[in-house]
């Protein structure tokens, strides 16, 4: 079915008034294609901005002229190309496997943190006493740096995959709790009432109206939490790791391999952008007004 202003009804009411204000009938099709053009232009400008950043980087590197202080784009790219398939340090994994390992840790930590955060946030939203009880705990833990937890996590979970994943989820959890509560709070009470007066059960309204209405804002919280989980990957891979992008960056830094440090950072940026894009795509489908 297509929508267009041409389909607009010409119904005239009892009082001689046309039902629609002829000058106020929106042209939905034209508006949608206008929005699509705007989106395309936005993506183009974004690529341009990234390109400009690379150019500025190269200019600064040329002026400084020291590959250890500021590695040039060229040496970073060649380090990236070289180590993408060559293990670093020797006997370890190549960079693409490190990226995979780090992505796995981030996704596990992010997944666990998001799940628990949304669950805790929803319960806090629904039960006032629990909210008042848990809120200060969240507020106290929120500003703590992930690094501070490392000794404790090693004591509790040893040096395997578990402490690394737990460390990341510790960073994600409070972000998701706070954004879930804020998202649910922002759903108007009358939206719930509206669903109920249309004959829906309390449960149906909770899932299909309240949570559904909060979903776009929750996904926005997930985007922030996703960035936070990448910021703690380096800390996580300080825990007796011998693989992962954080580990490679730390190792390369210790041996003044600055182009490789930058290559590792660029890899984190690239994977981070990829994951953020998938969340933005989810947002695109969840919230029609963003299309």
């Amino acid at each position: 079915m297509t929508i267009s202003a041409l389909d607009a009804p010409e119904t005239v009411l009892d009082l001689g008034v046309p039902i629609n204000d002829p000058i106020d009938i929106p042209d939905v099709v034209a508006e949608r294609s206008r929005r699509r053009r705007t989106t395309a232009r936005r993506v183009g400008f974004g690529a341009l901005g990234l390109g400009m950043a690379v150019v500025i980087w190269e200019v600064v590197a040329t002026i400084i002229g020291n590959d250890i202080m500021v590695p040039s784009v060229q040496s970073t790219v060649s380090a990236l190309a070289h180590y993408l398939t060559t293990p670093y340090p020797s006997g370890s994994d190549p960079l693409w496997e490190d990226a995979l390992v780090s992505t796995e840790r981030v996704l596990m930590g992010f997944g666990i943190g998001t799940f628990c955060g949304v669950a805790v946030g929803s319960v806090m939203y629904a039960v006032q006493p629990i909210r008042h009880l848990v809120d200060p705990i969240i507020e106290v833990t929120r500003p703590l740096p992930p690094l501070a937890f490392i000794p404790v996590l090693i004591m509790w979970f040893g040096i395997g995959q578990t402490p690394k994943v737990v460390l990341i989820s510790i960073g994600v959890l409070p972000i998701m709790v706070v954004s879930t509560i804020a998202a649910l709070d922002a759903v108007p009470k009358d939206l719930e009432h509206c669903g109920r007066t249309l004959g829906a059960s309390r449960r149906y309204v909770l899932l299909n109206v309240q949570v559904r209405a909060a979903l776009p804002a929750i996904v926005t919280g997930m985007r922030i939490a996703m960035a936070a989980s990448w910021t703690s990957i380096v800390a996580a891979e300080m825990i007796a790791a011998n693989s992962g992008l954080g580990f490679v960056i730390l190792q390369a830094g210790n041996y003044l391999q600055m182009p490789l440090v930058f290559a590792g950072i660029a890899m984190i940026g690239a994977v981070g952008l990829l994951l953020d894009t998938s969340l933005r795509t989810a947002l695109f489908w969840l919230d029609p007004s963003r299309r």
Binding site: I19, D24, T197
Partner: protein, 301 residues
Amino acid sequence: MELHQTATAVAPSLRGLPLSPSWETGSPDAMPPATGLQRRIASDTGAPAVKVEGLTKTFGRRGRQVPVFNNINLSVQKGEFVCLLGPSGCGKSTLLSAIAGILPFDKGSVAIDGTTVTGPGADRGMLFQSPMLFSWLTVRDNVLFGPRARGLMKRARAEIGAQADEMLSTVGLHGFGDAYPHELSGGMRHRVAFARALLNNPAVLLMDEPFGALDAMTRSRMHAFLISLWEARRITIVFVTHDIEEAVLLGDRICVFGNRPNGIIKELEVPLGRPRRFEDLEEPAALVTKRSIRETLWAAA
């Protein structure tokens, strides 16, 4: 805009709609679908559409009980258009929410078509100050929310879908079924909310200052729309407003609220004919009614 034309021919789409979808009557397939009118007559016990008896509501505020209203009685006949008029904070919206079942009350009872109700239900449609559309659903899916939530879609998907499309035509939104709420104009969004509430075929439509946030021109258009809709379908309506002009233009009867907690301090019939026209407001009878209401409100303040 020609507002002075006398009502003669009603838009065919407004007249043509059956008053109730047949899936709610459970009629056998062999029979032609029974309309809601038939159902209403068959089950007509002579009970008013809405009967509120001895309703009392207090809000607790720091241990102190603040009464909103005491012992309110209200009876709305089938097909009647009643306006609840009063200053802000007088309890008129609270009463409406209590009838809708979304606000618990302390004492008294609410009966719809002779049946006492406690919680919210599809028998009482409600329209809010803003249209409260579900932004993630298309216009058509918004309208279908009621039947879908009530599990009726499994039984009569095609039939309900056709009813929804017809309802969209009724409210002047033919061709906009696949649009999203944010793509519509303000008046159109309100009409989607109408269509959504009406598809449930409620016994009464409760309206809480629904046009308060609209600009004056759109508001007149919505008044014309509501008058036509009422003429065509004779819906029972309880309409909350603080606008004397609006109450006189739309209502058959006006319940004037005093300040909290006095409740309804005056009830009066609107001495204007039907179908209502905009120029009826300039009749001496309308002017006398408006003055009487104004004097009542000012005396109470």
